[in-house]
Amino acid sequence: MSATTSPAAPVTPDAVTFSLTEEQRLLRSTVRELLTARAGSERVREVMLEHGGFDEPLWSELAQLGLTGLLVPERYGGVGSTFVEASIVLEELGRRLAPVAYLSSAVLGTVAVVRGGSDDQQARILPDVATGAARLALAHLDTAGRLDAPPGIRAARDGDDWVLDGEAGYVIDGQHATHLVVAADTGTGIELFVVAADADGLAREPVEVLDLTRPMATVTAAGMRIGDDARLSAGEPVAALHAALTAATVAIACEQVGGIQHTLEAATAYARERVQFGRAIGSFQAVKHQLADMLVATESARSTAEHAARVLARGDYDELAIAAPLAKSYCSQVYTQAAGDAIQIYGGIGFTWEHDAHLYFKRAKSTRLLLGDPRHQRALVGDALGL
């Protein structure tokens, strides 16, 4: 996420078009209907408590609709959509907290391979990613998850092969991936490798996560030997990694907007129905004004995420260096505030395990910290602005 783009003066970016095409609207309603049917609260809870936070049947259904390969180029069996389409799916997934490997495989892994892999490598990996048969996860951090430290896995050349050693923390969906994209420290830089998740010398251990709907793993490589063809060989690996992480930053913001929107709607519905002192609690200004503030914040959060998705879609990387961290910092702030306020509006019931409020509250906090907290993201905005 270091700013490889030139510092941008505070110049107004070319305006994006926020409105959706007919097809995009159809995409939204298709995904929403699917998730309404298949990712209700009961199912999400079953998956998070009994299936380690990955809903394989739902993943298959998303794959059948082609959604797992939205960002995979058409020549490798994907849809070849822009990020605007992906942002629509992400928002809907975030609205339901649907426990599927979308962020990890369809965004992080896919972008890394598309940007870093040779044609051969892409042709080998991406068709299965598009069909959902393969699921990618990115292992690029050290065990402490530090953003400014080298990867926790090291790669050493040994003849024609590479030997991987070390430990990567906080690998999103790590234990449910079929393949790992490993960013490894070679001592002189970073290389990206694609390896089978069940390969010898590789172990995965689930992390005890705050947000059970988003599993993570610690990945350990111990003397793992792989051929050089596993190394993504086209393009600059740091640039590919940066592109994947930037796309994920925007993706998280889009997902957050879905969660924020749900939070606003659910809390508003409750405030309309719940009666205390002979009146709906939403008639009290204490509650009404809190929801009005949440509405204001929701609309602005949506603007930042949709803007970033469109900037990414059109490949305006100078503006993206501002828009991506801006969206994630702002949406994270709004989500954590809204999810906390919602619990307050629900009162006691919102503090129970059986109510869904805590699932959103935990997702909000967890995504706030994922790939850099708002303060970190704001610093990136400042760097890009030259402030």
């Binding site: 409105s19 200004q285 009005a292 930042t304």
Partner: protein
Amino acid sequence: MASDTASTTDERTMIEERVEALLASHPPATTPEHEFWGAQFDHGLAWVQHPEGYGGCGVSPRWQAEVDRRIEQAGGSTRNRYINVLGIGMGAGTIMEHGTEDQQRRWLRPMFACEEIWCQMFSEPGAGSDLAALATSAKRDGDHWIVNGQKVWTTLAHLATWGLLVARTDPDVPKHAGLTYFVVDMDSDGVDVRPLHQITGEAEFNEVYLTDVRIPDEHRVGDVGQGWKVAMTTLMNERVAIGGGVQPRGEGAIRQAVEVWQTHHGADGDPAQRDELLRLWVEAEALRLTSTRAKEAATHGTPGPEGSTAKLHWADLNKAITSFTIDLLGPEGMTYPGGYRFTRPEETATRTTSPHKAFLRARANSIEGGTSEVMKNILGERVLGLPGEPRTDKNQPWREVPRS
């Protein structure tokens, strides 16, 4: 933007032809402003949505932005919309919707040409957020009305020829039902305009004392007792006028904050202050993007809640930014450069305002044009569908409702 349909293509052609005709017959470079605006009215380009003969040509109001853009490109001035904002922005729509034909013929053209300036007399000391509680009375006297009362926050009253007035004509019915809408000749006997000094010392606003002011019944707008409805038209036009523009990135209060950061701190600045600056910058940009989105939605005819949240968001943010800017100034923030002056502010104040004055002026943002509390009620009830509070004042005769 979606491509023009057949009928909008026709409208575009018609607009373009009219603008060309106007610019050809009244070249901005050589035509005095007032004359140009008069001609613009005559060409149906003042309020394009008005019918022919009333300053318009009967097309969708969204063409107005295009007309203004072209006039400005050709060096023409559109600052009449600013100089006479209460007339052109709010009064005109009201008169078109509720006025008689005589009134429309009499008032619209001189208004647009800025030959006559307008002001608005709604708020009173006892009726701020609760506008419908206003106490200024109008009593019938033959074919005239006799008005007594006090209005506040009347921008431009000291320059105005005409004033939009809401007064109580029946105190014995519930408060919304007893109001009537008038246009007052500001030169009438009994109209006393006094400057109202604000916390900057300047007098941007006025108080207007009305003592036995006589208004001919032909200057009544709408029926007797319909004043609330007519006033709502004025206020709706106000909101449209406010929500119109989208500033470029980094403009407004945040520009000043960034400038102070760069001149007073820069690379060696305190990281805690830099983070706060960036937090505000991010929020300002989020708001700007929301305004852009709202504007786009409005032109596509499907406005969402993003439109109604901007004023509320802006008010809080502007207060926060201007206050933080003073903190960034450090000890210099304890000064008021130029000192307090008890005069009228200059017209183009927004561009040249010091951070200190901006800081003080911003306190009114969450009060003027609807307090933030009232805005939150509106958002909560009209956008989110939350129920209102129990009201005792809505159905009681005005005379019996407690007031302060």
